[in-house]
Symmetry: C2
Amino acid sequence: MKKKTGDPKQRLLDTATALFYNQGYHATGINQVIEEAGVARASLYLHYESKESLLLAFLHQRHTDWMGGLKSYTGEVGKTKEKISAAFDFLFDNNEKEHFRGCAFLNILSETTDKDTAVLNVIQDHKKDLRAFLAEILTNEKQAVKDHVY
Amino acid sequence: MKKKTGDPKQRLLDTATALFYNQGYHATGINQVIEEAGVARASLYLHYESKESLLLAFLHQRHTDWMGGLKSYTGEVGKTKEKISAAFDFLFDNNEKEHFRGCAFLNILSETTDKDTAVLNVIQDHKKDLRAFLAEILTNEKQAVKDHVY
DNA sequence: AAAAAGATAGATCGATCTGTCTATTTTACT
DNA sequence: AGTAAAATAGACAGATCGATCTATCTTTTT
């Protein structure tokens, strides 16, 4: 048991986020999550029906945060070229902030089986949204350019 | 039990390679490895002392194969520019051959704890060798250029 | 103050995991 | 053919996993 600030549900999500991202999903046990979150075992299953749903919550929050950050970076400038540059700034800043552990979605994907369709769907949706966002920025460019930037 | 060609030790390594790479290390159980390799449980521990040593064998083979491929790609051309281009050709070809599942070392790293020093060492050695190889190719370029290519 | 909801600790379940062991069969070599 | 090594199947141990349950304590709401 460690931290005790904020409501248990958020503590669980924050702790799971850190652990899943930094040491992997399968390498993280439910016991470590509740122990480091300072939350009772029963409380976990009160807010999340399973370990996988905790992973999905992590990916969902990650998706909204990440896309939000990207949009705030690119929204402040006008021209297409500047938006691209800002997008890469975001990538680098974000990557540095997270100690270069790479894309959370790809990391989780690398330990995901074909059977985990729910997880796969979230990951694919994230990548789809990212491509759609780039397509929006690059409206006037060719498809090949969009693919290349991606 | 599936395949039955070649000696058990190689079948184990081949199967572990495919499974560790395609679905992750922790997501792969020893039972699945021996079942798909068509090898008895005891035979696994006859050739490898643990699951982790099987992972290390996979990473080692991966390292030699990968560096070998890179050198054969870049060895056929002469100029520095061509070598760089050939190196990226290798990257793309290799990535496509493996269905875009990314760098095996980084994937394993994403599910590795600080405690797994043996695994971390192999991964770091791989990246170190890669940088050293690039430095060799880019002998006459600045350090910043080396970093950028990497 | 009473009632309802939220959170706790901890025992416990069945499943699965890695790794060990024994006993039997297959293979390889002289 | 005979012997030693290699490989097999399968039972087993001990640990850990995710998940359920009960029973108690705390907080919030009315």
